[in-house]
Symmetry: C2
Subunit: 220 residues, 2 copies
Amino acid sequence: MKQKELIVIEDILGSNKKIAAEIRSKLEARQILTVNFMSSPGAGKTTLLEKIAERLKSGYRMAVIEGDIETERDTEQIRAKGVPAWQITTDGACHLEEMVAKILPELPAGLNFLFIENVGNLVCPAGYELGERLRCVLLSAPEGDDKPKKYPKAFTTSDCLILTKADLIPHLPYDQEKVRKEALELNPRLKVFLTSAVTGQGLDELVAFFIASLDRPPHA
Amino acid sequence: MKQKELIVIEDILGSNKKIAAEIRSKLEARQILTVNFMSSPGAGKTTLLEKIAERLKSGYRMAVIEGDIETERDTEQIRAKGVPAWQITTDGACHLEEMVAKILPELPAGLNFLFIENVGNLVCPAGYELGERLRCVLLSAPEGDDKPKKYPKAFTTSDCLILTKADLIPHLPYDQEKVRKEALELNPRLKVFLTSAVTGQGLDELVAFFIASLDRPPHA
């Protein structure tokens, strides 16, 4: 990378950290647990959020911020579940923190969870904080079992690894133990969940993990 | 995006175009057809290159440059097919042109094809030219049928769309006609191939397309 490119990237990252810290302090003051979902395109972020919404709706309030390069498709899908959702379209960029900061005043009172669906990209978003308290990387079975060491930063910076599309494993050359082992070698503190939005596998455990991570009990 | 960020991005893109033009002129002088493969992680770029190598080996000479964030796994896989291959690891960056330029003097004589496997990312690589004559975007069935309009630049800048993992379609909520239609709305000149590295579907047609795109006939 060239010197000038490096300096500007440092500037952007410095500004990112500052904005992320402001977002974090505002969300923590409101006792909202913020979760950042990162993955490749098509790993199943939006569908997983729909399934989480179904499981949380009886006792918790959640909102979603959808990051996308283009289109509002994902937000429409989430709103159809009765969840307040905001769309960010980045027009090519892959960091969302300034746009997230602008949405904060619009968040409704009494929220327990804010899920931020990052742009579909396993590379750039790993370098930017969005003020989240939990970062989750999703990896779908069809992407293959060799991805953690090829895209290490997404794994080393995350708190949990959500393996998605487990229902497809019988049709794939895929060894979930290999992925798990490789990811844990990169980051031993990763909490790993094997899930399927089709069969429901692993979703209750995942939602229980999010609930256990809350700072305050839900409204009665 | 901030003003300073924009200026540097313009600088990088200007420098990219210059280097890409130099690469292109050197490769065209040697009558090498250069193909740039772009996709998300795990869409099947490396496996497709192995299958192409098997089909080209009797009459043509090919080489591969593998772009990756980390690891040399893909290069080892390609070399096992008897194909000369070079690894580029970008340590996080997503444009390869300077590193491609450095490899050119090492390419063997008499090459017909140079395939460049871009880093696994459907966003950033679309903005950078590598001196290729054909750009192909790969999209795997498990990524879903809604991706072209979400990641338009990869589709508007490509010459062909290779739909991969067709063997998984029976297990997925996936409408290949929808993808095809949406991609062609973005870019009517896209040549579309529906392929499976598992069953071999579509591979002969794809390889015939590459051969038909050659500037010179193969060596006898």
